[in-house]
């Protein structure tokens, strides 16, 4: 009962993690079920015993990622002052990208394909972005930050934070870091935070100009 269920759930997680790695590297079409099975340390037939099809596994992983992100990343709900909210958002997002780069890469591949499996998920993401735009607009109206295009401001924060996951290989070369050495998160987070705070006329200490 409990032991069997637990083992089954663990196997599911193993398969999901392995498939995220493989899908992130080679995409849906480029990843064979054999490769996923190898990465999970099981047989191909065994894999097909646990999943119903490759496509459905892919969709399940996508659902898992979108849900995870919706829980973690929302600029909207923070009641604090703009500087704290923005700093925290960037730090959070960058740390996630650096720690779980395959998740960002998986998502990026889906979008680059034209996002054919994303239709059920757009609505939620859109609402979150619009809500955050409202918060930013209120900051502007309240004179707490300089005028900004709220939507593009968010998109650009996404762009920078995602980049360090997807382009990790390039960043490593330019920063002279071996594949096993850890990247200098502090340096990256600091520069990114400064970039977006200054855009709003803010610094870590307070408002400017």
């Amino acid at each position: 009962m409990t032991a069997a269920e637990k083992k089954r759930r663990e196997m599911r997680e193993t398969i999901r993690d392995a498939s995220i790695r493989e899908f992130a590297r080679n995409g849906l079409a480029g990843t064979s079920t054999q490769a996923i099975a190898d990465a999970a340390g099981i047989t191909k037939a065994q894999l097909h015993y646990y999943i119903s099809s490759k496509e459905e596994l892919y969709q399940e992983v996508l659902r898992y990622i979108v849900e995870q992100w919706r829980e973690i990343f929302f600029l909207a709900a923070s009641p604090e002052d703009p500087a704290t909210a923005i700093s925290r958002y960037i730090e959070q997002k960058l740390k996630h990208a650096l720690e779980y780069p395959d998740i960002s890469r998986f998502f990026a591949r889906e979008i680059a394909r034209g996002a054919p499996e994303m239709s059920p998920h757009w609505c939620g993401l859109r609402k979150a972005v619009e809500e955050a735009s409202g918060v930013i607009n209120r900051w502007i109206e309240g004179g707490k930050i300089k005028p900004v295009d709220p939507l593009l401001f968010q998109i650009n924060m996404w762009a920078v934070t995602q980049h360090y996951a997807e382009y990790e290989a390039q960043v490593r070369v330019l920063m002279n870091k071996a594949a096993d050495a850890p990247l200098d998160d502090g340096r990256i987070i600091k520069e990114a935070t400064t970039l977006f705070l200054l855009r709003c006329g803010l610094t870590e200490e307070g408002m400017v100009s």
Copy 2:
């Protein structure tokens, strides 16, 4: 002689363009030679008459892209003032990303794979980035811009400009643009330019603070 060579070259270009589209969508492993042939409007056997192998076609396309980028994008050689140089760089890079998104997507996929075919090309890109870092440092020393991490400043400019190619599908959803409607380049370019100019303490009109 001339006519035959011209036709041959045109066929090569057709194949290259078609393969960029396909590789950009589904990656190296996920793209079949049949799909490339279909996209180029020829037979699979005919395709294999013009290319020696799928991998080599892929490498040739990668070489073509890297070379193209080295010619177009270099922050270094501009002798103008920082504001003009940065504005021009961002506009140039963004326009390219919006006009030829598949090229950016192709490159992004190669990097996300771990960049196994990039080793011959890193040296050149690295040198260009280091050269640009020198220029930026001289701007800082000359008091023309505020202190910046030169490397991360460049990486972040890349991040934003590339993003609008790779995440076009998502940007379209958030900006309420249909697949055939053109994106609002002006709006995107303006916000991105402001973002990076403000980071240096600049505006379109001149230095600030």
